[in-house]
Symmetry: C2
DNA sequence: CAGTATCCTGTGTGATACTG
DNA sequence: CAGTATCACACAGGATACTG
């Protein structure tokens, strides 16, 4: 059980999301799951994380409804970890992080793992935020309406 | 200085991104920055985090080129923390996390802070991943090409 | 108000060893 | 291979006091 500062009481969806994800390891596990990893050993080799940490994170992700445990397809006694629909909904989050990383942390020409469209072998378009009527929105085109808090306000709110 | 497992050597942009962000506090600071927070005290009240932690994270974010320190607009001796272009590029990440949280962690009708288009007062559309030729892509429509690693492979890679 | 400095504690983390 | 159990340490995180 990951115990740290909790944000799950916050009225901000961003805070609840990060709380639900857990930590960076968990997010990288989800990334690997999108990339096709399913087995304990696959995650472990890919991440290079200690096995107890990995086991703990997998438990948390399953408990959080992000991963599901299924019997192994190869008939072995072990499990496979597959994304639930809720986990699959993290797709834009992973894509956004990937694109940000590609844009800012690799020298031109420096090789990096790349997400490509299966049909064309090309990377997806850069994510864009659009208004309800279809205009593209930037950070300055939005504001955040804070919720009315009835009585006692919790911290880590906004 | 945040010291933890580093992912900045990874060839995966997602890993480098999370490494650059630092931790959840940092991400929530960025969120607040998008929401208009600029001053130390604003972040502190919003997050409820200890001041030393906040100071440390702000330092890291400035050092990482995500925030910039500017002299305070009100003429006081202090600073304002504003997003750099690199920081502003995190917009889709925040929006993606926000939408994921809205969709999965609030009961129907439960109030939460809400991002709205300044022109219409309505939330943006759900983020969609599109292929180079404009088709919408889901998790099953992509694959991740691992990079050829010349010799010694680092952990936490793909 | 905007930080810095100091101290304390819990625990996340990684190694290692062990099991079926 | 797929985990669980145990251990030791660093350090994140929080509280508090102090400064300009």
């Amino acid at each position: 059980m990951v115990k740290r500062t909790r944000f799950n009481e916050s009225d901000c969806p961003v805070a609840r999301s990060v709380d639900a994800i857990g930590d960076w390891w968990s997010l990288l596990i989800v990334r690997d799951a999108f990339d096709g990893s399913r087995r304990f050993g696959e995650f472990q080799r890919s991440l290079g994380v200690a096995k107890n940490i990995l086991a703990s994170r997998l438990r948390d992700l399953v408990a959080g409804g992000i991963l599901d445990m299924a019997p192994a397809a190869d008939g072995s006694a072990y499990h496979e970890y597959v994304l639930t629909p809720k986990g699959r909904d993290l797709f834009p989050v992973i894509v956004a992080l990937r694109q940000w990383g590609e844009g800012h942390f690799f020298d031109p020409g420096e090789p990096h793992s790349e997400m490509v469209d299966l049909r064309h072998g090309r990377p997806p378009r850069a994510l864009e935020v659009h208004s309800a009527d279809g205009r593209q929105l930037g950070p300055d085109d939005i504001t955040v309406k804070k919720v009315e808090r009835p009585a006692g306000a919790a911290a880590a709110s906004e």
